[in-house]
Symmetry: C3
Subunit: 279 residues, 3 copies
């Protein structure tokens, strides 16, 4: 049972992949250009279910864009996905750059704004029904680093999402970074006592909220990534749709440890993974 059969991108490639764009200097300032193309592609959710995604650059989730606070962001958005889409970014920007206007198939636009404020943001299509456009796969993280970088860590992204495979506005399958149960079958290898910094996003539509739970450990929470110090320590945190945080933790003992929403109906339908802690 290899869930990547037929998939070009797998969750292990998504996990630690940060796209800093093409860097230019304009008038002494850092400009990061990202070429994001809306596409359709079929992925194998498991050995029985094939799903037609709407996505960015052929991946679900889309690329994790990353910049430093104050950088200029220039997104060259091209729609090759068959019908209208858009890219709506979270973070502060002008109304014209808000990405709520449809970009027709075959058309392109440029979204340009400053990366601010530092924190964990996201982007997603904002064409109605947004439930459909998001759950089909048109979303990704947008991380803005603080002026003084956070301490070194093993950084990773973790996006919870749901798949409504029969179009009844309920999710039959769930995933972490795109493919159901992938990290259960392919544990994420991390080192004992290594600081892990997880950028976690709840992108599940149709269920109003989900928790994130880590086994046998506690994590520090930086809400929306808007703080430099943690404001809470727990092992279960409730996240409504589009909430995202930085979670930090390290494992003291080697072995395998699960993580999943503690809504077990969500976890057991694909939104579950495990770490393998190496001594």
């Amino acid at each position: 049972n290899v869930p990547t059969v037929g998939n070009d991108i797998n969750p292990m490639l998504v996990l630690r992949d940060f796209d800093y764009g093409t860097v230019k200097k304009e008038n002494g300032r850092t400009v990061r250009e990202f070429r994001l193309t809306a596409k359709t592609s079929t992925i194998e959710l498991n050995s029985a279910v094939t799903f037609n995604t709407w996505n960015v650059n052929g991946r679900v989730p889309g690329p994790t864009l990353r910049a430093k606070e104050g950088d200029r962001i220039r997104v060259l958005f091209y729609n090759q996905a068959g019908h209208s889409h858009s890219l709506h970014f979270h973070g502060v920007h002008r109304a014209e750059m808000d990405g709520v206007k449809p970009i027709r198939h075959g058309a392109a636009t440029v979204y340009e704004f400053d990366a601010e404020p530092f924190g964990v943001h996201l982007y997603h299509c904002h064409i109605a029904p947004v439930t459909r456009h998001v759950s089909k796969g048109l979303y990704g993280l947008f991380i803005v680093d603080p002026p003084k970088p956070r301490p070194p860590a093993d950084e990773m992204v973790m996006i919870m999402a749901g798949y409504d495979v029969n179009d009844d506005n309920r999710n039959e399958l769930y995933a972490l970074n795109g493919i159901p149960d992938y990290y259960m079958m392919n544990p994420i290898r991390i080192y004992q006592n290594q600081l892990i910094r997880m950028y976690v996003l709840n992108m599940i539509e149709f269920d109003v909220a989900a928790t994130f739970h880590l086994h046998a450990n506690m994590f520090q929470v930086y809400p929306t990534g808007r703080t430099l110090k943690p404001t809470q320590e727990t092992d279960v945190i409730t996240m409504g749709t589009a909430e995202r945080h930085i979670l930090e933790f390290s494992f003291r003992y080697p072995g395998k440890y699960m993580f999943h929403p503690h809504q077990d109906a969500i976890a057991e339908n694909g939104c579950m993974g495990q770490f393998e802690v190496i001594s």
Copy 2:
């Protein structure tokens, strides 16, 4: 498509309407009297759906009551709504004033208590089934200002609610301040760089939680209005039924900006609005 046809009260009148009551001095102390009458009235949720509400003073949501911490509150409650109702207030008060006893049609009672502690509270009918009595419209905000007033701002109330129009214990429509999609069709005009102070309440029954998301901006959160300084900054906050907060923000750039729960199934069925930021 004018959603106010047939409605005496519209969300624009509700938005910045604060009812400070009839003020008296008794033994040197400020007493605020509020005359609240439970009524039934029909509102047009949209051009196709008429809904029979149970409400306070003919409005959904009911009046936003407002006082200063320590004021005496005297609510003269009169039930003209056909069957039993009550007014249960949040905030600290004696058991006798808790508003869980049915007041029959045609009867009246007085709820009297001190306005405390400062914060964002609410009132609603507490007659079973409370799901029905609340979702029919019997609720409102009760704001208690701190002894030293908060800084000047453009203040507004924003109440998320759901309508179960076919009595199946699910919401078919949602609204901000009473009428689905009203602020989408009639954007709220605010000024660029003006501090906005929003008193937001999730009064949605049947869905366990909803988020509040503001486009292209971040907001400061004062949880339950119980702090004088914000404790969090984000652009998506999860609120269970009856949670309410103060959110503060200002827009740096002119233009139109949406706000809505990020549960798009809720947003796209009426719980969506927009600001028009004037330079």
Copy 3:
């Protein structure tokens, strides 16, 4: 309508019952041994509904285990419940002690770990489907006290749970500490101005979240019990499945006061109780 008919354990016995285990000293260190046996027993949820539970030591919820940070915990787990179960603890421990491996009927195992960090944790069966094993009753609280004890208080546990009585993955009934509506019919007697410390857990499956609301009062929140000072004051707090906190409050006036999730569909199906405050 006496809901305890046929039940050996009732919520009043559960309320203030803390199990400190059998204490031993080993190499100068405190070891607490707990004998926890998975069982099946039938409870009367109300006069019409009998429910076959899977439980720990014949109670739903299971015993509230309690230790001081740094104590050694030794759980002697014996499964007499008919098919495989396990005990998964929250808190920090080694992978081998994580309780995700099935223990067959008639088999036993020992879970041993240090009680850390201080806070409010839980334990529950982790055999798939976890939704079923948890909602059948296999869970309990695990409280780890800080090195310097919290101030004296009237301490109690309050566990929200749901019962799927017809196996359709939805809850028809809800309960506080095991039995629907028990504390409505049998109010919890507390003293006026007495500090109450409530260890509250949301163990509801199938609904993604619930709030906890206390009438006519505010409470201080210690999230996950991981702080010695409160970080929030409110009267409605949203808790996803497996979230748990310490809430502190006292009542200034005598009388009866309800508490319940403010999702009234949950409250009115059994997840409701009341205090009787004695002067």
